[in-house]
Symmetry: C2
Subunit: 433 residues, 2 copies
């Protein structure tokens, strides 16, 4: 007997059914927005990740040397791959480019609740628009997806921030501050205590007084955003505040505004974000970690060797999303149903097969005996696959040119002429006769 | 600019659309048969493959040592993984177990037409039935999937064989023959010349005369299968011939018989097959390689430490299947359409957003301006995404409480009262007004 690997999961039908339903909802929502599906490889050259994030990223990757001596890695996220793809066909693709895909990713990290080494995400990205409409479309898609999954405004919230507000404020304190390090500190601030947080800001180049002042500024509420412009006195912060307000205005028109809360402490961990960023949280706080996040990354395509191309995206992950959906009581049921079981009694396979085929051609889920089972054995199996209707094809019935139709909910059954089952009926059940 | 890896492909929407349609057809067909979707990991312990196929298999695997010093491999096929999963929950799962899944696999091999290092398969398996009905159901699923993809009996055939007929005949020549090696030789026979083929049979333990006689026996046609029983004079061959005939009889009832041709030279390369095996070929011969294959593997679950559990399955691969579908002229169109583009002229975003949302709520694919484009720029974009209807939301129209509905095929357009678009219409187009 073999074991699976730690952090890699097997999904049996009872678990896969609900997951498929959630993925289908995310993808169907994205398709209504005009996002087109792409297919992407599981492996890339390791240098693509090292160039972007530094040599230390390799520790988190499934990185190895392939048989052609290439340094390769299983993809830990989709963004670098789609950036590579955009660069490769930049001229041919009409803008905005709107892509969606669902697939696994891999990171060698500590396994914990809702976090695995193999994990699934639905990635949604827009390339080629710097307008607030694009940020708002990503927010609106995410909000629609969540409500389509059965969540309400009481269940989730998007904490919205802006990288350029954070960067601009830091710069206003001290032009030499390491904004990348400081923003990483902000990203960690909710998970560490204040002293540790201020230490990190100090290491990034702020004095302790500045760190405290910066921390206080991040508490600014929506109505007071203009105070940040005043404090910084720079075009950068003014433009960022205006941009954030514009995004929220468009989100209002597209129905996503009610889910958005200003939260400047939300920074997002990844370095490549440049503008509006957001994270989805459980509004009740019961699921304490961020459910998923997204934002604008306008510089990545250029850093990959492409023409400057603004970009914004979001990537709901199935595992943390399932924690929220389960907490809210809207994780889908197993969804394991069978429309018909065609039960064979005696030497009736030919007729049973004909009925089975006709029902399948009409698009129904139909099973019949594969195991040479008794009447009772077949009925037990029909029950185990939650069959709605059992069609009993027996030798005696067939002498009357009939079959017996049994409703599995009520247990009622009746004889039905063979010519009428399925006959002209699209989806015949007990009640049709 | 980064390159993707050799043998790994990027699918842009124009290529992904048809692939998705093919996958959807395969999966929808499987679901009608009551196959339930499972989700499986991309990685397994390397020993699982080495135990089954020997140390040399590692050369074909993406095998490496992970950061926890585990010898791991990207999954080169699904069968060992599903066998592991069956063993892990053998008691709980009701039989027959019927599973389906579509996902990528990885093998480090020579890249050629229709063969890549990353490739997609839809795996369909039945565990727990040794009856011919199970083999026939797999054949019927495969035949239905092919016809649902638009192929006819002129386009494809299933070459059906039986491992126990091959093994039984070999054994009848010489009890000491290495049947595994000999069957591998049969599997290669169409790709090598006769001398080489007979050399391989000789190496497996047949004399050259026996090799020639064996080769001739494999030409036996359906009507003469009894001659094989007579030749061998063993229960093993008799049981195998009867089993093959039974499978074909059930396949007749389930509509798959017309696609099946007896072809004892078809052996399938993998060692774990035990009973009926088959390969799908282009009936015109234009695509010369096998499109996909399947068969019975009754011993694998036990060899994985489980209770003896008969099994049969098939795994259409997307790349070779696409060669056949393209050859037959039934590869799906791009399938890239947009139901509506909502065009904004002037400061009309609020109304345009409202219309966009209402149409999306009705399930349609709707895009609107994300790039602050001119009237002409938006119309060009609507054209590029093949929008069927453009809804022009202009300031002047709005003064009349109206929008303009433009049919993109004909170019016709007319003013429609705002209250009626979409109003009560489920899917309003130019012709509705």
């Amino acid at each position: 007997m073999y074991d699976g690997l730690k952090g890699f999961r097997d999904f049996y039908p009872a678990e896969m059914g609900p997951r498929r339903e959630v993925i289908d909802t995310l993808e169907a929502t994205a398709k209504r927005y005009g996002f087109r599906e792409i297919g992407t490889p599981a492996m890339e050259r390791t240098e693509m990740y090292v160039d972007k994030s530094g040599e230390e990223i390799v520790e988190e990757l499934y990185a190895f040397e392939d048989k052609g001596d290439r340094e390769v890695s299983l993809t830990p996220e989709l963004t670098p791959t789609v950036a590579r793809m955009v660069v490769a066909k930049q001229q041919e693709l009409s803008k905005p480019i709107k892509w969606v895909s669902t697939r696994p990713f891999w990171r060698y990290e500590q396994v914990q609740q809702g976090r695995f080494r193999e994990f699934y995400q639905t990635n949604v990205d827009i390339f080629g628009s710097a307008e607030p409409e694009a940020d708002a479309e990503v927010l609106a898609f995410a909000a629609d997806a969540m409500t389509n999954l059965g969540l309400t405004t009481e269940e989730f919230e998007f904490r919205v921030s802006h990288r350029d507000i954070l960067g601009g404020l830091l710069e206003a304190f001290d032009a030499d501050v390491d904004t990348r390090e400081a923003i990483r500190a902000v990203d960690k601030s909710e998970k560490i205590d204040d002293d540790e947080y201020h230490d990190l800001l100090y290491e990034a180049g702020l004095s302790y007084d500045q760190a405290a002042e910066f921390d206080a500024l991040l508490d600014t509420d929506e109505e007071s955003l203009d105070e940040l412009i005043e404090f910084a006195g720079t075009d950068r912060v003014e433009a960022a505040v205006t941009n954030l307000q514009n995004v929220l205005d468009v989100a209002e028109d597209f129905g996503a505004r009610e889910y958005c809360t200003l939260s400047l402490e939300t920074a997002r961990g990844l370095d490549y974000y440049t503008g509006v960023v957001f994270e989805c949280f459980d509004a009740t706080g019961e699921v304490s970690r961020s459910v998923f996040g997204g934002g604008r990354y306008d510089d990545l395509i250029e850093s990959f060797g492409g023409q400057p191309t603004p970009a914004v995206g979001v990537a709901p992950g199935l595992a943390p999303l399932s924690l929220l959906l389960q907490r809210a009581g809207v994780w889908p049921d197993e969804g394991f149903t069978t429309d018909y079981y065609v039960l064979q009694v005696g030497d009736t396979r030919e007729v049973a097969a004909e009925i089975t085929r006709e029902l399948r051609e009409r698009g129904h889920v139909v099973e019949t005996d594969l195991s040479d089972r008794s009447f009772g054995g077949q009925l037990d199996y029909a029950d185990s696959v939650d069959a709605e209707t059992v069609v009993i094809v027996g030798e005696q019935d067939l002498e009357d040119d009939a079959v017996t139709v049994k409703d599995m909910r009520s247990g009622d059954q009746q004889q039905v002429p063979l010519a009428e089952f399925p006959g002209d009926h699209d989806r015949p059940t007990f009640d049709d006769f």
